[in-house]
């Protein structure tokens, strides 16, 4: 039922709001205050909302017109609100754009990755090169049979060639000699294992831990080696030189000189050692004074880097290959040593201390 007073109340209400809202909105200092003020008019408990709730009490002939006026006012409030809000935003943005910069020296906020151990890192680098040349990676046990570590690799029985391999033997079986079990002293065992399983062509590299009973400033009783070998018909020493020269240049520097000299390992013949230009004094650059003062190469400009040779026919015979038909080459290197050279690590013991202050350097 219509109430005549209602019209008056409604109209007064609209007039009050109209007279006050704009200033009130424009006076707001920031967005929360603006929203608070806006709520006072158009919020659920706002003045205009309350007025609109009076609509049913308005007489029918005025209801439509008053309703339109109220809605028009609501829109005006809305657009004022939008304008003021925009101005507040603009103001804030201007303040940010012209004010004090962030303290960019505060720490970043994202968890940092850890680091690979330098041995893993060098292994990855080395493998990447050799795998790209066509070698597959293989793996073998660290506890080995004596025959795989020595006999089948052509170490003659009771021969001083084993002197460099001061071996840890496993308790339980014979504590030395042919029937014993041991910690492998070299990754060359992988030659025997892979050749016993497969037929040529074979191109394998195998990194892994090896063990020798040496513990002093330059030796660690556990260290890492990488063995590589290639068996096929007509593999030549010339190709061995090619692979290793390429490998060392890719790993260290394309300018390093590489030289091969004769040496002896029972499982290769002809056997050799490979020297390359000292990477510490960058001997290939020919700065004689710098090389003369170099502690790493002791002034001669060369450093011993790996051992290699043509796989000895006795190894082929021991795995049942036809030693007339197949030839092959093998090479081995100390990953610790290469990591130390490449990353300038002064002491092998640092590699096995696992001190985060050291690990975080790589």
């Amino acid at each position: 039922m219509a109430e005549p007073d209602a019209v008056q109340t409604f109209e007064d209400g609209l007039a009050d709001i109209r007279g006050a809202y704009e200033q009130a909105l424009r006076d707001a200092a920031d967005e929360p205050e603006l929203r608070l003020v806006n709520g006072r008019y158009v919020g659920p408990q706002g003045e205009l909302t309350k007025l609109l709730k009076l609509m049913p009490k308005l007489p029918g002939d005025r209801r439509r017109e008053l309703g339109q006026r109220a809605n028009a006012l609501k829109q005006e409030i809305q657009s004022t609100f939008d304008a003021v809000l925009d101005s507040i935003h603009r103001h804030a943005r201007d303040a940010e754009l012209t004010g004090l910069p962030l303290d960019v020296t505060l720490p970043g906020r994202w968890p940092m990755p850890g680091r690979l151990h330098p041995i893993t890192r060098i292994r990855n680098e080395v493998l990447e090169i050799l795998v790209s040349l066509g070698f597959d990676v293989a793996d073998g046990p660290e506890v080995e049979l004596y025959e795989n570590c020595f006999d089948k690799l052509g170490f003659p029985p009771d021969h001083p060639a084993t002197d460099e391999h001061d071996t840890f033997f496993i308790e339980g079986g014979p504590s030395s000699g042919r029937h014993s079990v041991l910690l492998r002293t070299q990754t060359s065992t992988i030659q025997i294992r892979e050749m016993s399983l497969r037929q040529p062509p074979l191109a394998i590299v195998s990194p892994g831990a090896v063990y020798r009973r040496d513990d002093d400033t330059t030796h660690s009783p556990m260290f890492f080696q990488l063995e590589g070998f290639l068996v096929d018909t007509d593999v030549t020493f010339a190709e061995l030189k090619g692979v290793l020269t390429l490998f060392l240049r890719r790993l260290f520097d394309e300018h390093v000189a590489v030289r091969f000299r004769a040496s002896y390992f029972p499982f290769v013949e002809p056997g050799g050692e490979v020297d390359m230009s000292c990477v510490f004094c960058r001997a290939w650059e020919g700065d004689k004074e710098r090389t003369a003062a170099c502690r790493v190469c002791k002034g001669n400009g060369w450093m011993e880097i790996l051992g290699c040779g043509m796989i000895h026919p006795v190894v082929f015979e021991n795995v049942g290959y036809d030693a007339e038909k197949y030839t092959g080459f093998a090479f081995g290197m100390g990953l610790d040593r290469i990591a130390m050279l490449k990353y300038g690590i002064p002491n092998i013991k640092l590699l096995y201390d696992n001190d985060v202050r050291f690990l975080s350097q790589f």
């Binding site: 151990h117 506890v143 060639a161 496993i170 831990a209 009783p221 010339a238 002896y264």
Partner: protein, 826 residues
């Protein structure tokens, strides 16, 4: 091996300087590791003549000496007891001279007397070991006062330290290295036969009648003064084991005077690292260094029963060796015996009873060839490695016996001013037969990758000492020289050709690698991916020694069923690890000790476990250890706890396998916290565990705070990963999702995981995901309860969801929460 360049030049005169020689032999396999110049660091030290000699006025043991150094007289205070009479010559360091040890000689006052310069001992000049008295220049030396000491004493030399590989016993003496230099520089350099001594005697009477005369070998042809030695006791040689001792030579020297060696000999031995003892012993050492062939001198009169017998020991037989130690032998040890018992360990060390002494007059010189393996086993068993065993176990030249004997007898006779028998016993039990080796130039070319003219190969092999015995078609047959036991088959000769020509002569070819079908085993790639993922999550990779002590394992409460080392370096490294925990915990303890606040380590390595197979089982494990604080942003650090370990594992597996594992309560190892650990499983199979380590174990390992540890079986993980296959792509959903939250108050014993699973099931397949987004305990929450809030995401892949369907599903979810978990929905 230390080598005198001067001596090499005497044996093989060539023009090249020491550096060129060192380079060439290094390239050929005799690696020169160091070159030290001798006689070059003595400037300011000269020969001086003693002019006056008087006691020091105040000090008893000092002498005032005036010396003339060729330019001026100097007054010197000398502490040595052996200052010669005026006229004697000494070595004088002038004021300003610098001694080899770095001291500069300056004038100083000794007991109130000005001393200007120093009279030196050979030790002070580092030309010998004698520090007892000053060096007195030999009367035969014609050096005048003022002569430079290096010139006067002929000190100039270079010592090469050659690292010999064990296949080259022929180079364990100067003769062999000189021969090698000759080969490399194209100069024939065969060992010279020794000139005979000045005085000899006919030895017939000294060899018993039962020694076959065929065993007697004439040592020299030359002229000499024949002396009578008929009083010498007779001797015979018997070889009881020809396999162990194929050849045994014995020469006699009579009437020697044992005394000090001349300076040249002492100086040479000193430079080459040997002590000097007496002329006879020094001579045997010089022969060893010259020929690489050990000889042994017995005092003839201390050999009982007039004979030498080479035989195997009886088990338990004993003898005192030269070093004074009583040794016990086994039936595998070869002994040199006289008529009564052992007098030497063959090829290893002599016995103390028969050794050369100051009063020795007559000497039996042994020069033999022993089986290398026999010598090596005995030397190993006795733990007695000598210059002699070093050479015999590598293989000396059996055919050199007469030559070496002749040299030795001659040198000892000369130095000791005795006489040598003109003949010696040369008993051959098994004659050396040279190995015949076929050599095909075509094979060499195929192996080396370069053609070498057959004549060049032949020339090189003949220079090396091989003898061409047959040439049929393209096959050459050579006999290897007796001094090269390493040459036995064709490839050995190919290496000789390659080595002598130089590896530089071999071209460098483009490598040719045929790819294999199998490629790298997938598991190796997987391991590499795990490492990368672990690093990406913030972990540092550790590499620990694979051996540790059983106590370390006990402390960590991990399995002590170990693979043990029979000969560990120490108790601390005597067992192979059965778990990666002790190693990582050790690193964490050390890190905490130096104040690290966050330790985030992983290790991917093997553990070792006894098995019934010939080899132990090796398992590859990924272990993670977190200790201290997880670093947050500025002061937001939180101590690591279970959920960090869980999160790291989720991150790693999600990255490597594309899937997160499940975590359930279950039986974890004893070293883990029973209530704050979980079993990690994937596709329904347990692959490892994660959690906090047991606080008692933490204490035992000396770790502070909560320590999170996880271990994953890498092989199993890889196998499951293979089964799960490669991630497959799916189309994105076409219809929108609707989210609804449900918050509830539930008792603590219900896990969030089981509630979430149940809620999902209750949705009738409409819930795409259920995510816990709020967890609250505390005010207004009853004891033993917690508030959990889940966000349910509903989606129908086939149509747009209506509110009605969602409401219905969500109501069922709430109903289930109330019914099954007695939850109060909030």
């Amino acid at each position: 091996m230390l080598t005198s360049f001067r001596w090499l030049q005497e044996l093989c005169p060539i023009d090249a300087d020491v550096h060129e020689v060192a380079h060439r032999i290094t390239q050929a396999g005799l690696e020169v590791e160091a070159i030290e110049e001798k006689g070059a660091n003595l400037s300011g030290v000269v020969v001086a003549e003693v002019r006056t000699r008087a006691p020091h006025p105040k000090r008893d043991k000092l002498t005032l000496v005036t010396v003339f150094d060729g330019e001026a007289e100097h007054e010197v205070v000398c502490g040595a007891p052996n200052v010669p009479e005026p006229g004697g010559r000494v070595l004088f360091a002038r004021p300003g001279a610098i001694l080899p040890n770095g001291t500069t000689i300056e004038p100083r006052r000794v007991g109130g007397v000005e001393s200007s310069g120093m009279i030196c001992s050979e030790a002070e000049l580092e030309v010998g070991a004698d520090a007892e008295g000053i060096f007195i220049v030999d009367a035969e030396n014609e050096a005048l006062p003022g002569a430079d000491v290096a010139d006067a004493l002929d000190l100039h030399d270079f010592v090469l330290d050659i690292g010999l590989t064990p296949n080259r016993p022929d180079c364990l003496g100067h003769v062999g290295i000189a021969r090698e230099i000759g080969i490399l520089f194209g100069k024939r350099c065969e060992p010279r036969k020794a000139a005979g001594p000045r005085r000899t005697f006919a030895a017939g009477a000294s060899f018993q009648a039962d020694q076959p005369t065929t065993d007697l070998v004439k040592l020299w042809d030359g002229q000499s003064e024949l002396v009578d030695a008929s009083a010498l006791s007779s001797i015979s040689v018997e070889i009881a084991d020809g396999d162990r001792c194929p050849r045994y030579g014995a020469a006699l020297v009579s009437g020697v005077q044992v005394g000090p060696s001349p300076f040249w000999l002492r100086y040479r031995l000193h430079n080459l690292g040997l002590r000097t003892l007496s002329n006879v012993v020094d001579a045997t050492n010089l022969i060893l260094l010259e020929w690489g062939h050990p000889i042994h001198g017995f005092d003839l009169h201390r050999l009982r029963g007039a004979k030498v017998v080479v035989r195997l020991a009886k088990d338990g037989e004993t003898m005192a060796t030269l070093d004074g130690i009583e040794r016990e032998f086994t039936a595998d040890d070869l002994l040199i015996c006289d008529g009564r018992g052992p007098v030497a360990v063959a090829g290893v060390m002599g016995g103390s009873d028969s050794e050369i002494r100051d009063d020795t007059k007559d000497i039996l010189i042994e020069c033999a060839y022993f089986d290398p393996r026999s010598i090596r086993r005995t030397s190993r068993r006795l733990g007695l490695q000598t210059d002699s065993s070093h050479r015999f176990e590598r293989g000396v030249d059996p055919e050199a016996v007469p030559r070496v004997m002749a040299s030795a007898a001659s040198l000892i006779a000369e130095l000791g001013e005795g006489a040598s028998a003109t003949t010696a016993i040369d008993r051959v039990a098994i004659a050396h037969s040279p190995k015949s080796i076929a050599f095909r130039p075509a094979r060499a070319a195929r192996l080396l990758g370069t053609e070498i003219e057959a004549e060049d190969s032949q020339r090189i092999l003949e220079a090396v000492g091989c003898r061409l015995v047959d040439e049929t078609g393209k096959v050459f047959t050579f006999e290897a020289p007796s001094w090269r036991p390493d040459l036995g088959r064709e490839v050995d000769l190919i290496e000789e050709v390659a080595r002598v020509r130089g590896y530089d002569e071999i071209p460098t070819a483009v490598p040719r690698v045929r790819p294999s079908e199998s490629g790298t085993p997938e598991v190796l790639r997987f391991i590499s991916a795990l490492r990368t993922a672990a690093v990406t999550t913030g972990l540092y990779e550790a590499v620990n020694y694979a051996f540790l002590s059983v106590e370390d394992l006990q402390k960590a409460r991990v399995s002590t069923e170990v693979v043990s080392l029979a000969n560990p370096l120490s108790e601390e490294r005597s067992a192979m690890r059965t778990s990666l925990l002790p190693g990582l915990a050790g690193a964490a303890t050390r890190a905490q000790r130096h104040g690290a606040t966050e330790v985030q380590l992983f290790e991917l390595a093997r553990t070792f476990h006894p098995s019934d197979d010939p080899l132990p089982r090796e398992d590859t494990a990924l272990a993670i250890l977190l200790a201290g604080n997880r670093s947050g942003w500025i002061g937001d650090e939180q101590p690591f706890e279970f959920y960090d370990g869980k999160g790291v594992l989720e991150a790693i597996l999600d990255r490597v396998i594309g899937q997160r594992p499940d975590f359930t309560q279950g039986e974890v190892p004893a070293f883990m916290h029973p209530k704050r650990s979980a079993i990690v499983s994937l596709a329904g199979r347990a692959v490892g565990f994660v959690g906090e380590i047991h606080p008692d174990v933490g204490d035992a390992l000396e770790l502070h705070g909560r320590v999170v540890y996880a271990e994953i079986d890498v092989a199993l993980l890889h196998a499951i990963s293979e089964e799960l296959g490669t991630p497959q792509g799916h189309l994105l959903p076409k219809f929108p999702a609707v989210t609804r939250d449900i918050a509830m108050l539930v008792r603590e014993e219900f896990t969030a995981g089981e509630i979430a699973t149940a809620l999902s099931e209750a949705s009738g397949g409409l819930a795409e995901s259920v995510r816990l987004f709020d967890l609250y305990r505390g005010d207004q929450i009853p004891e033993g309860h917690r508030s959990l809030a889940f966000r349910m995401t509903y989606r129908d892949p086939e149509s747009t969801l209506t509110d009605k369907r969602v409401d219905k599903a969500h109501a069922k979810v709430a109903e289930l929460a109330r019914d099954r978990f007695q939850a109060t929905i909030r």
